[in-house]
């Protein structure tokens, strides 16, 4: 079961568990998103006393208030009215009113469902509350985005329904999925929370949301946000105020007092220049400068010194929370150091696929949240990028994952021919649902041939021409040209394009490896080292010889997945004819059948190339957690509801297995004894 389709902000209870299970089943079968909430997420000020109801949010369906009380109830009416009043004010806060109108204009998108939890028909309820018409559906999705805190830029969303594919995808309303929502809003007591996902799964965006949640939840908590790369840290530091403004955070950012955002190392003597520099300065540890040793050693020395200090007298943490992005760039010792100096939780986000192709083999990764859905890229583009990256269509495969690992990367695994033929599929994404009706190739392979006058420059210009012809509303900033090779010839080609693109199309270009930023109204040109975190509707990847080197394949995978509509892969026939023949057949199948069809490598080959990623199983609700223990202890069903309440009262909603078990066993004995009397 996919955990990404469903989110519930409250616990399952005896009253609602039937309907909740039914909704989960529905989302799973129909690959559709659903949220069950009892208050608008994203702002703690909205709370209600009434607990016999919840609100079901599903794109394309009305906002449904489920009432479990079994009778027309004034308290329920009050809950619904208060909730809608708050929704109206949230819409106002984020300037949605211009697009969606006042609450009375979307009153017909709200429904009340009086439900008997033991006797209901979900399909019938949903059929009754289905919204017909793109315009109404859009308003409802905007309301869902407000209620789930997945705020969209209203200037981009616009009120009209676009008539072309490019603008449809650009203006699609983005909603957090279940996993993402849980990461942002779920409370936890763990010291380290790891979130892992492919590039494009929204890790950095989620960290920013988490940061906002942490920052506004307390007026005194101190938070350090860090990553390894200085440029990335500088970018993040610029993004935070923009993001806070966008999310209408009222508190001022108290830089270097409550909130820090720098790269991890920093420089000696400048306390606020890096996380490590700050820790060293605060505790009076020896600072080792960049170049003197590697970061792992520097962190180990710091930890050792901290432990020595701690032995003399216990040290107190300096931060309440730390957030670490791009965790694959760090040694474990840095996380240990972070944990040591943080009072509450260290949130660590990283990209599993970058680790897979790293030279060091990581045997075990156990994320708390595994984001398997890549929202940046059309699933077909992602499938092709994985296939090319891992050499799946080639004689000698470069990578092969175990079935669980394929699933961890968001694949549905089907096998046939004695398990030797794999069909790897990805679940469809809301963002790209409009693509299904269009005959658009997600990836286009283009060969160059100097001898026949089809040189790289002319092929690039041709590709831009095709994009322009097929997408009349395309802008310069919608296209990214990315060179695979970090060689002089690529730089020179970019210099040529800087001159020829304005001449042909009237667009100026931005060579991002020089400017180090994305510039509005300019066509983006860069090479493989400068594409992290970027996305474009169209990407033109330019390669020379595509070798089997992991670095090259990983870069290709990264480059190809920068597009959310279409990728052109341009390569010279001189070096790549054989590869072209192999991958074009695989690509045709991806385009036609929406799946990767691949012959599994032999056991011998697998042994050579296997890397293990394990991940902790998907999160379960506290209700399911306790009921699993009931099953283990074979508790009579009759006693379960009372026992469940007793556990909640005694332990709180903590996933502490031993404690919960002990409380159940103790109370169960008493209950049995009482029953016997």
């Amino acid at each position: 079961m996919s955990t990404s389709f469903f989110y519930m902000s409250r616990e399952k209870s005896n009253a609602n568990h039937n309907i909740v299970d039914e909704i989960i089943r529905f989302t799973d079968i129909h690959n559709s998103q659903a949220y069950i909430i009892d208050r608008p997420l994203g702002d703690n000020k909205y709370t209600y006393d009434y607990s016999e109801a919840f609100v079901l949010l599903m794109p394309k369906f009305k906002i449904m208030f489920f009432n479990f009380s079994g009778y027309a109830d004034k308290d329920f009416e009050a809950f619904r009215d208060d909730f809608l009043e708050d929704l109206g004010s949230i819409a106002d806060k984020y300037r949605y009113r211009d697009i969606i109108g006042r609450p009375r204009s979307w009153a017909d998108l709200i429904a009340t469902v009086d439900i008997d939890p033991t006797d209901f028909n979900l399909e019938a309820i949903l059929a009754e509350n289905k919204i017909v018409g793109d315009g109404k559906q859009k308003v409802c999705e905007l309301l869902i985005s407000l209620l789930t805190g997945s705020i969209n830029d209203i200037d981009k969303v616009k009120s009209s329904i676009p008539d072309n594919l490019l603008d449809k995808v650009k203006q699609k309303i983005l909603l957090f999925d279940g996993d993402q929502t849980r990461f942002v809003y779920q409370k936890n007591n763990k010291k380290i929370i790891r979130i892992q996902g492919l590039s494009g799964t929204g890790k950095t965006e989620l960290l920013l949301h988490k940061l906002k949640e942490l920052y506004i939840n307390s007026e005194s908590d101190s938070i350090f946000f860090t990553c390894h790369n200085k440029i990335l840290a500088d970018n993040l530091k610029k993004r935070i105020p923009e993001f806070f403004n966008f999310m209408k955070v009222e508190q001022q950012i108290e830089w270097d007092e409550r909130l820090w955002c720098t790269n991890a190392w920093g420089s000696g003597g400048v306390k606020n220049s890096g996380a490590y520099a700050f820790i060293c300065a605060h505790y009076g540890l020896t600072f080792h400068s960049f170049g003197a040793m590697n970061f792992d050693h520097a962190c180990r020395f710091a930890l050792k010194q901290l432990n020595e200090l701690n032995n003399v007298s216990p040290i107190s943490p300096i931060f309440d929370y730390m957030l670490v992005d791009e965790s694959q760039d760090f040694p474990q010792s840095f996380f240990d150091l972070c944990e040591k100096v943080t009072k509450e939780t260290v949130y660590i986000a990283g990209d599993i696929f970058q680790s897979i192709f790293a030279t060091e083999i990581i045997s075990n990764i156990t994320p708390d949240f595994l984001l398997s859905k890549c929202y940046r890229t059309d699933p077909r583009t992602l499938m092709f990028a994985h296939s090319l990256g891992m050499g799946l269509f080639e004689q000698q495969k470069l990578q092969w994952l175990e079935d669980d690992e394929w699933r961890a990367c968001g694949y549905l695994v089907e096998k046939s021919a004695g398990d030797s033929l794999y069909r790897l599929k990805r679940e469809p994404l809301r963002r790209f649902e409009d693509l299904a009706n269009e005959d658009i190739k997600s990836t286009v392979l283009v060969l160059t041939n100097e001898v026949q006058g089809q040189d790289t420059e002319s092929r690039i210009l041709e590709s831009i021409n095709t994009i322009k012809a097929n997408n009349p509303t395309v802008l310069a900033e919608d296209i990214g040209i990315i060179f695979l090779d970090n060689k002089n010839s690529s730089f020179q080609m970019a210099d040529r394009l800087e001159r020829s693109i304005p001449q042909h199309f009237g667009w100026t270009v931005n060579k991002a490896y020089e400017t180090k930023k994305k510039i509005k109204d300019r066509l983006f040109i860069s090479h493989r080292n400068h594409v992290k975190g970027l996305e474009f509707p169209f990407v033109i990847c330019v390669a020379s010889r595509i070798s089997s080197a992991y670095g090259i394949r990983n870069s290709l995978y990264m480059m190809i997945t920068r597009s959310f509509l279409q990728t052109y892969l341009i390569m010279p026939s001189e070096y790549n004819q054989q590869l072209y023949d192999q991958i074009s057949t695989g690509l045709e199948i991806i385009n036609a059948r929406n799946c990767i069809e691949v012959q599994a490598p032999s056991q011998e080959e697998i042994v050579k190339i296997r890397t293990t990623i394990t991940h902790s199983k998907a999160d379960i609700s506290f209700y399911d957690f306790v009921y699993q223990i009931f099953d283990e202890l074979e508790i009579y069903p009759l006693f379960r509801p009372d026992l469940y309440e007793t556990v909640k009262r005694t332990v709180g909603e903590k996933f502490a297995r031993d404690n919960v078990r002990e409380v159940i066993e103790f109370n169960y004995k008493i209950m049995l004894r009482e029953q016997a009397q």
């Binding site: 220049s273 210099d495 180090k516």
Partner: protein
Amino acid sequence: MKRIEFKLEDVDVQWIFSPLRNKPDIIRFLMRIIKLILISKPSFEEIQGDKAVLVVSKMSRIFFISPKKHFSICLPFKVKTSENNEVKLYSKCDTEMTSMLTSQVLSALESDTIMTSGNIWDFTAPIIEIYEATPDFWSVFRELLIFEDGYIRYDHDAENEAGDLHPLHHLDVCYSSSPAFKLGLKKPLTSASLIDALEPSTNCSYVTLNF
């Protein structure tokens, strides 16, 4: 004296004749000019219209010629032409100036803080990062920081003409506001005269002072 000309397209003229205000501007400009030289077809005959003229003698200079403006800066590189007439440029330390190297210089200058921060780390970090990948980078970058650019511009500027304070025809020597000064000219100056005036191997031009 060797003379190589390059035709300028409209897209080039736009940025080439934009004002230069400081040394980083000059270095950026120079890098873009090198890129232009490396991707353009050189001509050893005289070109009509907007053009860049590379004059190689004891001291290499490059001139930019348009109907109303000509200007020139020193080119602190050795210029070599190959048998198939490709122009190649080398630094004093014999490092070949390539598209990649020029982009690396541009990226270093683009760093927000390299020229402004009070923290030495902000200056050294981007340089060390590039230096690690391209060890020749530092010697070239250092040369660029300390080279004397010898900026001089002929202007025919009717819009801003203001008697002897801003003569219709004048030479602007230097580009940043403190050292910059004008030399008024009684009549238009051709590009050939400007090139000749700055050529060390030909006779000097005289300035007649009116006081």
